[in-house]
C-alpha cells in the first residue's frame, strides 16, 4: 500500500490569525524569540496498492482542487510506496 502525505499551508502573503494567536500563546507560556507561527493542515491518505499512473495524476489534481485552495494556499505532496 501507499501512504500519501499532503501538507497545506496558507501562502506567505495571506494573514494567518490562528498562527498569530498561537504565537501569542507560546510567548505567554515563556517561549522566547518566536518570530512567526504559521498553522497548516496535514492529510495522511492510505491507499491500497501503489500510487502510480492515472491515480497519481488524480491524487495530485485533487490535492490542488479539494485539499487546498490555490487562491490562498500552497501544498506539498509526498508518497511513501
Amino acid at each position: 500500500m501507499a501512504r500519501v502525505v499532503v501538507n497545506v499551508a496558507l501562502k506567505p502573503e495571506i494573514l494567518d490569525p490562528q498562527g498569530r494567536a498561537v504565537q501569542g500563546a507560546l510567548g505567554r507560556l515563556g517561549l522566547t524569540g518566536v518570530s512567526d507561527v504559521r498553522q497548516g493542515k496535514q492529510f495522511i491518505i492510505d491507499l491500497d496498492g501503489e500510487l502510480e499512473g492515472d491515480r497519481a495524476g488524480l491524487m495530485e489534481k485533487l490535492a490542488g482542487e479539494l485539499l487546498s485552495n490555490p487562491v490562498i494556499e500552497d501544498f506539498t505532496l509526498t508518497v511513501e510506496n
Partner: protein, 226 residues
C-alpha cells in the same frame, strides 16, 4: 409572471428559511433545492444561503462546491443564471471559482454578529439594480471567516470593472481587503455578499428592510427577459 427562485439547502445550511421568506416578500416563489438534486426544477435564479455547509470542514464552502446540485448551478451560472451567494454562499461561489478571491478567517479572530452599515458601490449587477448608486444600507452581518482576500491585481480589476458591489462603512468587521463586502462576476449575474440581506426584509425581525432590493432587483431582470 411567477418567478421561481431556488434556495439550496446543504447539510449545515442555516439561513435557507429566511432566504425563502425574503424571496416570498419580494414577490417571487421560493423553490427548495436539495444539495443532492440532479436537476434545478426550472428555477429562474438561485440563492446560496448562509450557514455552515458540511460543517465548514476542510474550508468553508470547499465541500459544497462538489455537491451534485452545485455542478448544475456552476454550469448554468456560466451562461447567465442569476446566482446570489450570501455569507457561506459567497464562500461557496469563491471556492467554485465563479467569483475570484477567497474568504479567510477574520483578522481579529472573533466571530462577529452585528448590524453593519454598507455602501452600495455597483447597481449594475442583476441583484443590485433597485438600489441607488452610493446608497447606504444597514443589514445584519455574522461571520467568523469573512475576510475577503485576493491579489492586488484582482482587487484593482474588481474596482476598475465596477464589480465591487458593496463596501463596509463605519469599521471593517473582518479584515476584508479594501473594505470589500460583496463582489460580482464579469457578467453581473453572479453576486457574493458576506452580510445578510435576507435578515433585513421585515421591520418586526430585522434592523431595517434594506435587504429587500437585492431580491426585487433580480425579479426585474427576470421580467425583462421573459
Amino acid at each position: 409572471m411567477d418567478a421561481r427562485i431556488g434556495v439550496v439547502t446543504f447539510p449545515g445550511s442555516l439561513d435557507d428559511a429566511d432566504a425563502a421568506r425574503a424571496i416570498r416578500i419580494a414577490g417571487a416563489t421560493p423553490v427548495a433545492l436539495w444539495h443532492g438534486d440532479a436537476n434545478l426544477h426550472d428555477v429562474d435564479a438561485v440563492v446560496l444561503p448562509g450557514g455552515f455547509s458540511y460543517g465548514d470542514y476542510l474550508r468553508c464552502g470547499a465541500i459544497a462546491k462538489f455537491a451534485p446540485v452545485m455542478s448544475l448551478i456552476i454550469e448554468k451560472a456560466q451562461v447567465g443564471l442569476p446566482v446570489l451567494g450570501i455569507c457561506n454562499g459567497f464562500q461557496i461561489l469563491c471556492e467554485s471559482h465563479l467569483l475570484p478571491g477567497a474568504l479567510t478567517r477574520n483578522d481579529h479572530q472573533h466571530f462577529i454578529c452585528r448590524d453593519q452599515k454598507l455602501r452600495i458601490e455597483s447597481t449594475e449587477t442583476l441583484w443590485t439594480t433597485d438600489f441607488a448608486p452610493g446608497q447606504e444600507i444597514i443589514i445584519p452581518l455574522k461571520n467568523g471567516e469573512g475576510g475577503f482576500v485576493a491579489s492586488e491585481a484582482i482587487l484593482d480589476e474588481l474596482f476598475a470593472e465596477n464589480r465591487v458591489i458593496a463596501t463596509y462603512l463605519d469599521g471593517n468587521p473582518n479584515g476584508s481587503y479594501r473594505d470589500i463586502a460583496g463582489i460580482s462576476n464579469k457578467a453581473g449575474n453572479v453576486v457574493g455578499l458576506m452580510p445578510h440581506p435576507e435578515h433585513a426584509v421585515e421591520e418586526l425581525t430585522g434592523p431595517t428592510t434594506d435587504g429587500i432590493p437585492f431580491f426585487t432587483s433580480v425579479l426585474k431582470s427576470l421580467v425583462g427577459a421573459s
